[in-house]
Amino acid sequence: MAVKELDTKIQGIPAPLAKEMPRRSFLLKLGFLLNGVAATMVSVPLLGYLLSAFRNDGGFTSWIALGSLNSFPENQTRMAKFSNPYTRPWDGQTADIPCWVRRMDGDKFQIFAINCTHLGCPVRWFQESHLFMCPCHGGAFYEDGSHASGPPPRGLYEYKYKIENGQLWIHGGQLPTLNQPA
């Protein structure tokens, strides 16, 4: 074997016995195999831990009470706040999520996410001109949430709602984005 000759030449030591070679290469293979198995056993739980947030099963959303119907006068749009259903103990104020509640006649509501559909900035309601305006890139929406002007690609995100025992409930819990509206 050329490698053996080279070995002998360079290092000036006798070539290993022919029967030693299979043993060495077997040990090398065994070493690789053993480490491969170990690496898999380490990486599976590691990836499971890391990718635990990488899911999209709707498990984060639920019904949330926004308050008594009386706190939302008819024909007005008001901000409401709720505590996000999925929280961590160290979330602090970031767990408080605002939304815009528009009460039309009677028990008809529209509840909009605070996030502009362009790039997620907080839209502000202007009672006087009946517009939502975004401070970032200049998007504007009408009082029914439809797109009025500027770069947003669609109207405001709307939460589903229901009324139970005189309480207004919305179905929410995650940051709305274009491919996953509230």
Binding site: W90, Q93, M133, C136, N179
Partner: protein, 504 residues
């Protein structure tokens, strides 16, 4: 044996065991072309110095900072106002970051213009591009760790962009935020990136980058007409080293030392004089009276995202970063050999100028963001008195409508108000009364329709006010299909008195 002799022996023993002199000869003492001891070659070491400052100040800040969404803001305030010299450490870290990005950009431009990326230094360039990306990553994640309103809504913008990815969008957003909303785990994630993952990568890649500089040699100062040829370059470089090479230390390092010293002084000065950045508003999502703005080095992005036509936005957002990064990686393969000197590479020089001008213009626009409505203008901006003097009650009522209906948030009069829409100072010369009515009621592409939100009397007052908005010397627009006299009488009942009253 006297003392000195003994010390010498100790030194020789240590050197023999740990190879200090050999390591020195192979690194700081390596031979470089005499021409590369130039003022143009100081930016690489300057960037490295900034990185070291960031490590030291970053470790100090991490002693106090709490990477928890609930407490990060309080700990930043504590650093600013209670921790002894905490404000100074925060300021050093902030200015160190600004200088690092700026000097790194200078380094990139210098390396590009001097053709240093050409054969055989392709991998040095590529590792440098990775370092640039890491540094921008540090700048962005660092901005998030300053966990204030800007950070919170900046994350929202990042999530909104990621959320546009087809199919995978929602999953990527969850991965990025570490959950369904921007909250505790989001900050922990960015802390991990900023403090462990990216700095670790930078350390590793800087080692590679410097190793490559040693292995392939520093670029010689380019001479016009001296072409890089793969067959002969190595020999020529060797010959130049033999002929006029000098050890980097102490012969070629002096300008690096002077520059680094100046940079350090500048950072200390800026930190002491300007102080730390923020934190601005508390990161409470329900406090929405905010206009989030990115830090200086990302202002151009803010401008691009605002001014891009909306039909191409998603495509550009999701592909442009990859195209730009791809081009940066491809540079050494697009132009691998040939001329190095910028004097013979006009396309390279013009490209750099073009990119700098474009980025500079967008950044400049970003400083005052004309595309954003001024959300408080309707209660804070005053109508100039000469726009009210001598006006009829109806017209003055119109000025009130102009404020109360937030028109002024997007349209300025007399330099007060937003810049999102056109200034209305001379609007009466551009639109007739009828056209103003139509514009107000129906809006247009970039203006909401106010039809439902203004009563007919409000529209009449508003249009009456706007019809007075022209200079005394300018004739208001009129409908040419109607007799001029009639249209003046119908649409601008007080035109004559206004003309008289606004005369200077």
């Amino acid at each position: 044996m006297n003392m000195i002799e003994r010390l010498r022996k100790v030194a020789i023993w240590i050197d023999d065991r740990v190879y200090i002199s050999k390591i020195f000869a192979a690194t700081a003492g390596h031979t470089v072309p005499r021409t590369s001891g130039s003022w143009f070659y100081v930016f690489g070491s300057g960037t490295l110095l900034c990185f070291m400052i960031q490590i030291v100040t970053g470790i100090c800040l991490a002693l106090v900072y709490v990477p928890s969404a609930g407490q990060a803001y309080t700990s930043l305030e504590y650093l600013n106002y209670q921790q002894q010299l905490g404000w100074f450490l925060r300021a050093m870290h902030n200015w160190g970051s600004n200088f690092m990005v700026a000097i790194m950009l200078a380094h990139l431009i210098q390396v590009f213009l001097f053709g240093a990326f050409k054969y055989p230094r392709e991998m040095t360039w590529i590792s440098g591009v990775v370092l640039l990306l890491c540094t921008l990553g540090m700048a962005f994640t660092g901005q998030v760790l300053r966990f204030d309103q800007d950070a919170y809504w900046g994350l929202g913008i990042g999530a909104a962009m990621a959320g546009r990815v087809p199919f995978m969008g929602p999953a990527i957003v969850h991965m990025m935020l570490g959950g369904p909303i921007i909250a505790g785990e989001t900050l922990s994630r960015f802390f991990t990136l900023h403090v462990f993952v990216i700095p670790g990568s930078i350390l590793a890649i800087v080692s590679l980058h410097l190793r490559l500089v040693l292995a392939k040699g520093i670029n010689e100062y380019p001479v016009p007409g001296k072409l890089v040829k793969k067959e002969t370059y190595a020999e020529e470089y060797e010959a130049e080293l033999k002929k006029s090479g000098v050890p980097f230390f102490p012969k070629a390092i002096s300008k690096d030392l002077i520059f680094s010293g100046l940079v350090l002084l500048a950072i200390v000065f800026c930190a002491a004089y300007f102080g730390p950045e923020g934190p601005h508003g508390i990161p409470d999502p329900t406090q929405i009276n905010t206009a989030p703005k990115p830090d200086f080095f990302f202002l151009w992005l803010y401008g691009v995202l605002s001014l891009m036509p909306d039909y191409m936005e998603t495509v550009v957002m999701l592909t442009a970063p990859f195209i730009v990064i791809g081009i940066l990686f491809a540079v050494p393969f697009i132009s691998n050999t040939g001329e190095k000197s910028p004097r013979r590479r006009p396309v390279a020089v013009l490209s750099v100028l073009l990119i700098l001008i474009v980025l500079g213009a967008f950044n400049y626009l970003g400083t005052y963001a004309p595309w954003s409505p001024k959300m408080e203008a309707w209660t804070s901006a005053a109508t100039p008195t000469n726009y009210l003097e001598g006006r009829s009650p109806l017209e003055r009522q119109g000025a009130l409508v102009f404020h109360n209906k937030q028109c002024i948030n997007c349209h300025s009069v007399g330099g007060e108000g937003g810049l999102r829409g056109p200034a209305l100072d001379g609007v009466a010369t551009r639109l007739t009364g009828d056209q103003l009515v139509r514009q107000v009621i129906q809006g247009s592409g970039n203006m909401p329709a106010y039809g439902k939100n203004l009563s007919p009397p409000e529209v009449a007052a508003l249009v009456a006010f706007m019809s007075t908005l022209h200079k005394p010397t300018e004739v208001p627009a009129h409908d040419s299909s109607r007799p001029t006299q009639a249209s003046t009488e119908n649409m601008q009942p007080n035109a004559t008195t206004q003309m008289a009253s606004t005369k200077p």
